[in-house]
Symmetry: C3
């Protein structure tokens, strides 16, 4: 991920542009996106370092919880700006991107090097079970609401959203208990981490984490501010920006890590990154966003029909492809093709 380092140059550029009152929203959008990518990578590295110091269990929790901090920060700022549709689209888009694009690209690139790559069928089976539950849980309110066309007053939507958010969050916590306490053995030694070496001191890691968080927040502010004028200027829907572009930015670091792992024939790690990250988005990020939205203006968890179709399709194909504990380049192509078809459909509508 050395190439990521060069992107740090966009942080001062974006700040100079903002301060100088530069007005092209497309340029501001691109520059802030490019600044967030290396910062998200840096934040991930710092979290991992702290995790090693914290010992295997607490570290595992930390990693599992702050792995999607970038999405969380962007989304919170977008909620404050009232961009609910962009936030919901980016939740759906993150799941889509992680399960289809990240996993597909890993399977494809890994499959070009190795004829067949194996991964822990049992652990991944538990993860895809969880993902299916999570997507059903997240989609049921939306499907119900679409079926009864707005006979309900909106306060009911919100109370349903909060109830679902509470249930999903409890399941998330129980899932962590499952994988770090009661059944940690089925995940092999990956979660152990005792053999990892530290690069940085604990103090330095915390300092890096704080700085990265602050800078991501600043850049996300620029990003969120540019979404609306940029969409208007170049004629892309805010929906497309939310479901395709923002998730790619937020997940770029995970994306490159997963592919590197696939190339090292550590397909277990690659699959875990993509499915685990999707789980975090639905079971942790989405509920937290629902709760945070109550501080500003309540956001319902009701996805639109396109998001539902995309989410449900992606879960089924990923569950199916991952069910045998083996993968090859063609399965990667299959996942990426579904992503591409969905992306083109979103682009055209």
């Amino acid at each position: 991920m050395k190439w990521l380092k060069f992107l740090f140059i966009f942080i001062p550029i974006s700040i100079v542009l903002e301060v100088s009152g530069f007005h092209n929203p497309l340029v501001l959008f691109i520059v802030s996106c490019l600044s967030i990518i290396p910062l998200a990578g840096l934040m991930g590295e710092a979290t991992e370092e702290i995790s090693v110091y914290a010992g295997s269990r607490v570290g595992g929790f930390l990693n599992a919880t702050f792995g999607n901090a970038t999405e969380l920060i962007i989304s919170i700022l977008a909620i404050r700006a009232g961009l609910f549709d962009v936030v919901k689209a980016s939740i759906a888009g993150s799941v889509l991107g992680n399960t289809l694009l990240v996993l597909g690209a890993s399977m494809f690139v890994g499959g070009l090097k190795y004829k067949s790559q194996k991964f822990n069928k049992k652990a991944i089976g538990m993860s895809t079970n969880m993902l299916l539950l999570a997507v059903i849980g997240l989609c049921i309110p939306a499907i119900f609401m679409h079926s009864i066309d707005s006979k309900l007053i909106s306060t009911r939507y919100e109370s349903l959203s909060v109830a679902v958010a509470v249930i999903l969050l409890i399941v998330y916590i129980l899932g962590l208990v499952f994988s770090f306490y009661t059944h940690k053995d089925i995940y092999g030694t990956e979660h152990d981490g005792s053999d990892k070496e530290t690069k940085w001191s604990l103090k330095f890691s915390i300092l890096v984490l704080v700085i990265a968080t602050v800078l991501i927040a600043v850049e996300s502010e620029f990003l969120v501010g540019s979404v609306e004028p940029m969409s208007k200027a170049i004629g892309l829907s805010e929906f497309f920006v939310g479901i395709i572009l923002i998730p790619i930015v937020g997940n770029a670091a995970e994306h490159s890590t997963a592919i590197i792992m696939a190339l090292k024939n550590k397909m277990d790690v690659a699959v875990e990154i993509s499915i685990g990250s999707s789980l975090q988005i639905i079971l942790f990020v989405a509920p937290i966003l629902i709760f945070i939205s109550l501080l500003f203006r309540p956001m319902s968890i009701v996805f639109n029909e396109f998001e539902l179709i995309a989410l449900i399709s992606s879960i089924f194909i990923v569950s199916k492809v991952a069910s045998d504990g083996e993968c090859n380049w063609l399965e990667g192509v299959q996942l990426m093709s579904v992503y591409l078809i969905i992306a083109i459909a979103f682009f055209i509508i």
Copy 2:
């Protein structure tokens, strides 16, 4: 299931209340529900005793056919009373309850005691195949009807319902032939029953069965009579009563048996109870109800959108969770969570 015995006290109470012209529909509803629970358990015991006397094959058929007699009786009386929506909701609700709540609770409770519980993957695979076919068969008429918004005259709905009912019933009978004749070996010795001991004489068992059936019919009459006024009185929709409350009453006995089996690490039996019971509902009870409705006023098999979504979601998550022939407490939590989200959504709408 000793606690069930105490509930017999509600039989005389309910009769006294009815006879004395007591008018609170909520009390009548609750009391008749509480009376049915131990009667359903008693009927199950009597059927099982008779099955032992009848020998393994005929006995298996008897058990498979009268296992849901309580639901059948309640539903027939509800059809006679014209409560079609309640009947259809309780069919969908029984499947939901059996696949998500009963199975989920068994996996959860069993999983707290045993780290991992195994069950006969092959036999359960055949059952979930059957369940998928059954749900697709049951849902296709509904989905078709929803897509063409009432361009059809209603007699066509009914002839489609009857055709589907005939097909499902034939598949049910062929399924019994499969599991009791041609492929009984894949179900292991469970179905053999030759080692079972009898508690009661045959005559006494038949007497108990007759008495239980009569009393269930009486109590179901009270129950059905109280549904409409009770729904109005406390502001719950009849739909909620049908899809959540009635199935819990009808399945209470199976529910407790399944959990007891899970605690004895006989997960095979627990899974068989929950999935087998769902199959009976769709492939046997539902078709029989369609035929019986022809005697009164023809009932179509067309479910509403909420029922469809709930049925389809439940089948997918159960198939997925059961596909590996193993379970643990977290899978139980996953199933129960989906049930809870669906129940909350039904409660709110």
Copy 3:
């Protein structure tokens, strides 16, 4: 397949009827259908002969590509005649027929003779993955279009259709590369073909192929010409003709081959015929038809709701039933039952 030979008599009959200006469209429809059945079989034989001469790889490509030539010819003529709904219905119907009816009948008939039949789980798993991708790819444009009720101008539908067609075709080609080059080993020796004997000389095979193609085109012309008047005359919807009748005609040869293979306990071949044929329809025939329609009047790939439901249901039940690499007669019954329920529903609407 000796009985097929007797059907050749319908070729001269149909030509005589057409030339003599015979006007009963039902008779013309039936006679042209009956003529196409043996011709499709003959074409298949000729293709197979040529494949043997061409060597295993090129031969495999030939077989995989021209296996559905009959459907392709009928559809091209129907597109020229502007019968878009019939063409789309027959694409959906071919997938339905191959996955549910052909596979179900093979499993049923084979299962009556052999208690349990095994097939190559890994190869079939790859095929059902592909089928799931293909159906999702084919359905996403339709689902999207149904959700936004005609806010789009139709040129956008078409550009989306072309984009999807290009992606599906690329995936098809990559799938051939996978099964004939990079991973040919997982398909066992079936694809090798080196042990096959030739019946005909290469020249004669090519001659037979050319003659069969010409005659199929002629008969398809009669068939397509009779669809509209026949539907009107006997009150069947063109949709029913497209989704049920035409696919049965187009797939009759494959149907009988698959059943013969099942009876020889070569379930691998039977499953490969049914799933492989469905894949060809979606990944090769459908895209080619989209491209060809651009020459006349652009046809969108947007299926109606009934087709979508039928396609999606069929994929799920086939994936589930085929997932364990074993089958029995009851699984055959399950697949055929779903087909029957869908066919009855189509007949009634």
